[in-house]
């Protein structure tokens, strides 16, 4: 039988002693039972002794101690009966929990060794949640990593491949240490050839795997466009349904902080025209995790857009069973005055503008598109029927962007409901300059959103 760890320790925890070798993993999948280590066994015995002592001294009203299947996931401690006549205080209860759970020092004194491993990253950015309590906020990159980890554990056919995803842990840390748990065949470092590894993923998908392709930057997917357009999107159709291509092509895109023109591409609209692919753009850690899980489980090829500047966003996430629909938009803020349609990082630009707008007495409704292909026209329709005005705030260029196709859809379908033409706020039709001020002037800023909303509201108020 294969000895394997149950959970990747978060950065800062002590690493597991045993890494399954490739030979052990090939052909076995990861359907392995968790293994208890000696330390955990001793803790368990100690806990049992203490528990027995508690029960002995305090009868039926004592604390009930139970352990879950894997010691590394911590022990759940249930308390029964709050009307205790004992001196056991809440503090003692906490201390008991500390003894029974297995987690690293809270001050993360081990983190410096990890920070060396993934390059110069400040320790506070690596501060992990101490146990997988899903109500504790985590970074978006951690949320994505959890999604990949959970799905790889759930289905041995899921694998991830791309440049630097293995030992390096991914350029944005999304695959940190996954190679230790799943081995190098399932967390595959590839040579630098986007068309090559995308093609490889498509071939593997047609032969039974469910690969996740990580593009280091979505702009590099231009090199993989042939495989994505001509094969990924087409093969299910041209083979008469005989071959399916359940790949997820994910990576960061969008305008970052002075990354230069070639690394600030917004390719959503390029892919939107391809029949056969689905496009999803994530914006929060919660929806990132839930959508990535759904995308991995989907049989369609999904192009999954993350944003370079959102990886360090911290928020709550859902548990292993929370998946989000790939085709539905998210209602960010309900309102009645005007519909603002947005996606990705522009969601935060819009919410920034909303603060100002609310102060000025407006009540905008903000819808995060999430699904860029197909558009969730149902949610958009309901919103426009309520507000009768819409503006689109996007990071794509004005010419041929996502907003361009969305604007035409809205005009064609909801013309009679609209009181004003759809206003589109998009990036300028220029390559993104490096200079900070020029870069800021290229993309939509909150002030522009405020101005646009005011203009539309004024024009329609008469």
């Amino acid at each position: 039988s294969v000895e394997a760890t149950t959970r990747i320790p978060y950065p800062g925890e002590t690493a597991p002693e045993h890494t399954p070798t490739n030979e052990q993993i090939v052909g076995q999948g990861i359907n392995c039972k968790p293994n208890m280590r000696l330390k955990d066994k001793l803790l368990l015995v100690l806990g049992c002794i203490i528990g027995a002592a508690v029960l002995f001294f305090h009868g039926g009203h004592g604390y009930m101690l139970s352990s879950s299947a894997g010691m590394t996931r911590g022990v759940s401690v249930h308390s029964r009966g709050s009307n205790l006549k004992t001196p056991f205080s809440h503090a003692y209860h906490q201390k008991m929990m500390m003894m029974m759970t297995h987690h690293p020092n809270r001050d993360c004194s081990h983190s410096h060794s990890h920070s060396q491993r993934v390059g110069a990253v400040a320790p506070e950015l690596l501060a992990p949640p101490t146990k997988p309590d899903f109500s504790e906020p985590r970074f978006m990159w951690q949320a994505l990593r959890e999604a990949v980890d959970e799905e790889m554990e759930r289905d041995p056919n899921v694998m991830i491949m791309g440049e630097d995803v293995g030992h390096y842990g991914g350029s944005y840390k999304v695959t940190t240490d996954l190679y230790k748990k799943y081995g190098e065949l399932r967390v595959l470092d590839t040579p630098i050839c986007e068309n090559g590894f995308t093609g490889m993923a498509i071939g593997a998908a047609m032969t039974g795997l469910r690969p996740i392709v990580e593009g280091m930057n979505m702009g590099f997917l231009l090199l993989a466009f042939n495989q994505i357009s001509n094969n990924c999107g087409m093969l299910h159709y041209t083979s008469g349904g005989q071959y399916k291509v359940p790949v997820v092509i994910r990576g960061p895109g969008g305008v970052g902080r002075q990354l230069g023109a070639e690394h600030s591409q917004r390719l959503e609209s390029y892919f939107q025209a391809i029949p056969g692919v689905q496009l999803v753009a994530v914006s929060t850690p919660r929806n990132a995790k839930a959508l990535l899980k759904a995308a991995i489980r989907s049989d369609n090829p999904i192009v999954f857009f993350e944003h370079v500047l959102l990886y360090n966003l911290k928020d709550e996430v859902g548990g292993p069973d929370e998946v989000q629909s790939l085709e539905h938009a998210e209602m960010v803020k309900e309102g009645k005055d005007i519909t603002i349609l947005t996606y990705g990082r522009m969601r935060y630009t819009v919410m920034e503008a909303v603060k100002t707008l609310q102060a000025k007495g407006y009540d905008p409704e903000v819808v995060d598109l999430i699904s860029l292909k197909p558009f969730d026209l149902h949610t958009i329709k309901k919103s426009i029927e309520k507000t009768h005005k819409a503006i689109i705030v996007e990071e794509c260029m004005l010419t041929g962007g996502i907003g361009a196709s969305l604007s035409s859809e809205i005009h064609e379908r909801f013309f009679d409901t609209l009181d004003h033409n759809v206003v589109r706020l998009s990036s300028q039709d220029v390559p993104t300059a490096f200079a900070l001020e020029l870069e800021a002037a290229t993309i939509v800023q909150p002030e522009q959103v405020v101005a646009a909303v005011e203009k539309v509201m004024t024009a329609t108020s008469t």
Binding site: R117, H167, N195, Q242
Partner: protein
Amino acid sequence: GTMRRLLGGLPRRLPRRFRAGFSTRVHEESPPILERDPTLKRTGDVRYSDELITLDPTQIPDVPAYRVMDESGNLLHPQRNYGLSTDKLVEMYEIMGEVMVVDHVFMQAQRHGRISFYMQNTGEEAIQVGSAAALEDKDHVFAQYRELGVYLSRGFDMQQVAHQCFSNVHDFGKGRQMPIHLGASHLNLHTISSPLATQLPQAVGASYVLKRRGEGACVICYFGEGAASEGDFHAALNFASTMDCPVIFFCRNNGFAISTPTHEQYRGDGILSRAHGYGMAGIRVDGNDMIAVYEATKEAREYAVSENRPIIIEAMTYRRGHHSSSDDASAYRCDKELKWWQTNNDPVARVRMHLESLGAWDSDKEAELRQLHKKKVMKCLNAAEKAQKPPMSDLFNDVYAEMPPRLIRQKARLDEHLAKYPDDYKLGKFASEDVYKSSK
């Protein structure tokens, strides 16, 4: 002892990050691959020389192509046994004959407007039938478009080829791909895609899966020498080699890529010479010698499966037909050259002469076979032509796993339009949904 007491609180060893030599930052937790496998080259693994050597490719002799029989079908080493019984040889010869007759008749059909497009395999029958015979059913095939003999050998029958060329309701591909872009998942034959060389990285991906499964299967990937100029060729070979994938890269070097001859396609020693650059094994074989192709593929397969390493086979041959029905080869090559290959090095003729020398074939049998094939192909052609096209309602299926609302709406609009103008669309040619379901 004393030294230690004198040194007092000084650390015994310098912290890891200050140790000289190889950076330990990245490899702290697990040993790098290089330390685990001493056969792989490390960065900095170099031998030095005090002599300035400039490698001159003209000084490296071209690798000769392996052959087993001469142009007249006589074995060069009659005492050797190549593992092909006479019955098997006859069977393979009959499949070559099928390829020939399908090529001939379907090309005529295209010229007469009965099908829209066709690509012939003339001159490459030995490559197709010889290599396919060396494979097992569990091996996956990724092809380019000039591999009809491979498909026929694997059980994709002539009738199904006809159905695909007519894009009718019985086509496995549901009439969605161009003629001769065949595919059958139950036979592990991947649907052909038009863009050149896209199948190479995909073959690597598939072989990766097969390696994981550990069933002793490999992938064979066919392509022409022109497709080998594409970036995907480099990507696939580099990936296959660095990831140890059991894949046979079978290059049909047939002299032309539409009108581009090989001396304008590359300057090296064919495609085989590139294998060395990727650290891969390679074989060059006479592509018009069916038995040699069989032996080479068998050898390559064993190597790929047992070593989990990729291997190139470059089969030297000549494309006797046009590139496709849209091409006229006389515009760029002289008739003399074509006639030379037809007369002196015909793969089908070589096998026939070999069988005749074994006493297993004669002109009567030949006439009988041709009659049989002619009847069969005409029957297939007519049956495929008569069959209806796939139903219009199938136009929007299989774009996604489940039809999304937008496509449902588009389909509804099309249905409405067709109901209004049925005569303009010759709807009688299309099968109804019930016929479609029963034919599957």
